[in-house]
């Protein structure tokens, strides 16, 4: 049996649909050692920018590096918390306001591990993955986002 985990693709073209999230949840009903799931969803906001309102964000990434880094983060979080499962999905391309661009999902026997791991994952994803969002404003200006 191969125990070594390989980098999984985390990228989804366009928005992440609620149906995909539902399917991912349903897939865990056979894992009856899970007691709690923690989910974080990033949604594109209609922020007011100079000259207009954000209509969408277009995401690009340095994909190879992002996947390697996501794998490294996954391994570190699995090491730190007693998790049963962990899933990360991030959009590429255009995601309109109100749509989901990030889906982070952790599951564990007990709630605390799932909740803490999910929060740490979200922070690390935002800080460490080479992904960029360009906000499209309704006056056709474009503004590059920056995580703080």
């Amino acid at each position: 049996m191969e125990k070594h985990r390989k980098p999984k693709n985390i990228f989804v073209e366009g928005p992440i649909s609620p149906e995909k999230i539902a399917k991912s949840i349903a897939n865990h009903s056979s894992k009856t050692d899970i007691g709690g799931h923690s989910i974080f969803l990033g949604q594109v906001r209609a922020d007011e920018k100079e000259g207009g309102t954000v209509q969408a964000i277009v995401y690009t990434a340095y994909e190879d590096m992002a996947l390697e880094k996501a794998f490294e983060i996954r391994e570190a979080i699995f090491e730190k918390y007693p998790l049963t499962c962990m899933h990360i999905y991030h959009s590429l391309g255009e995601v309109k306001t109100g749509e989901i661009c990030l889906f982070v999902f952790t599951s564990s026997k007990h709630r605390k591990a799932a909740i803490d791991a999910c929060e740490e994952l979200v922070e690390r994803i935002k800080k460490e993955l080479p992904i960029w969002g360009k906000e499209l404003v309704d006056n056709e200006k474009e503004v590059w986002k920056e995580n703080t």
């Binding site: 990033g42 995401y59 690009t60 990434a61 340095y62 190879d64 590096m65 390697e68 991030h90 661009c101 990030l102 979200v122 994803i125 935002k126 800080k127 460490e128 993955l129 080479p130 992904i131 960029w132 969002g133 360009k134 590059w144 986002k145 920056e146 995580n147």
Partner: protein
């Protein structure tokens, strides 16, 4: 007789790619990240006002670092995923 040249491949992302007008750039005779920054600032003066990190073969580096031959060197503006 061919000279052995030190070649690197530059990949640019986000607003850095916009300023460069390209995602990719092949350069030679760039032995360190300091030389790379100097070259880029000379060619694209706007970059000097912009914050960007450098990854060599997909690993972020800091300070002045040697760039191996055939390396893939990425110019990474501040991340904004999620």
């Amino acid at each position: 007789m061919e000279m052995v040249t030190h070649r690197i491949k530059i990949r640019a992302f986000g607003m850095i790619a916009e300023k460069l007008g390209a995602d990719c750039l092949d350069l030679d005779s760039i032995p360190t990240t300091e030389v790379l920054r100097g070259y880029l600032y000379q060619q694209f003066p706007e970059l000097e006002k912009m914050k960007f990190g450098i990854a060599i073969n997909k690993k972020l580096v800091s300070g002045n670092q040697p760039i191996p031959n055939e390396a893939e060197v990425a110019l990474l503006p501040p991340f904004s995923g999620g």
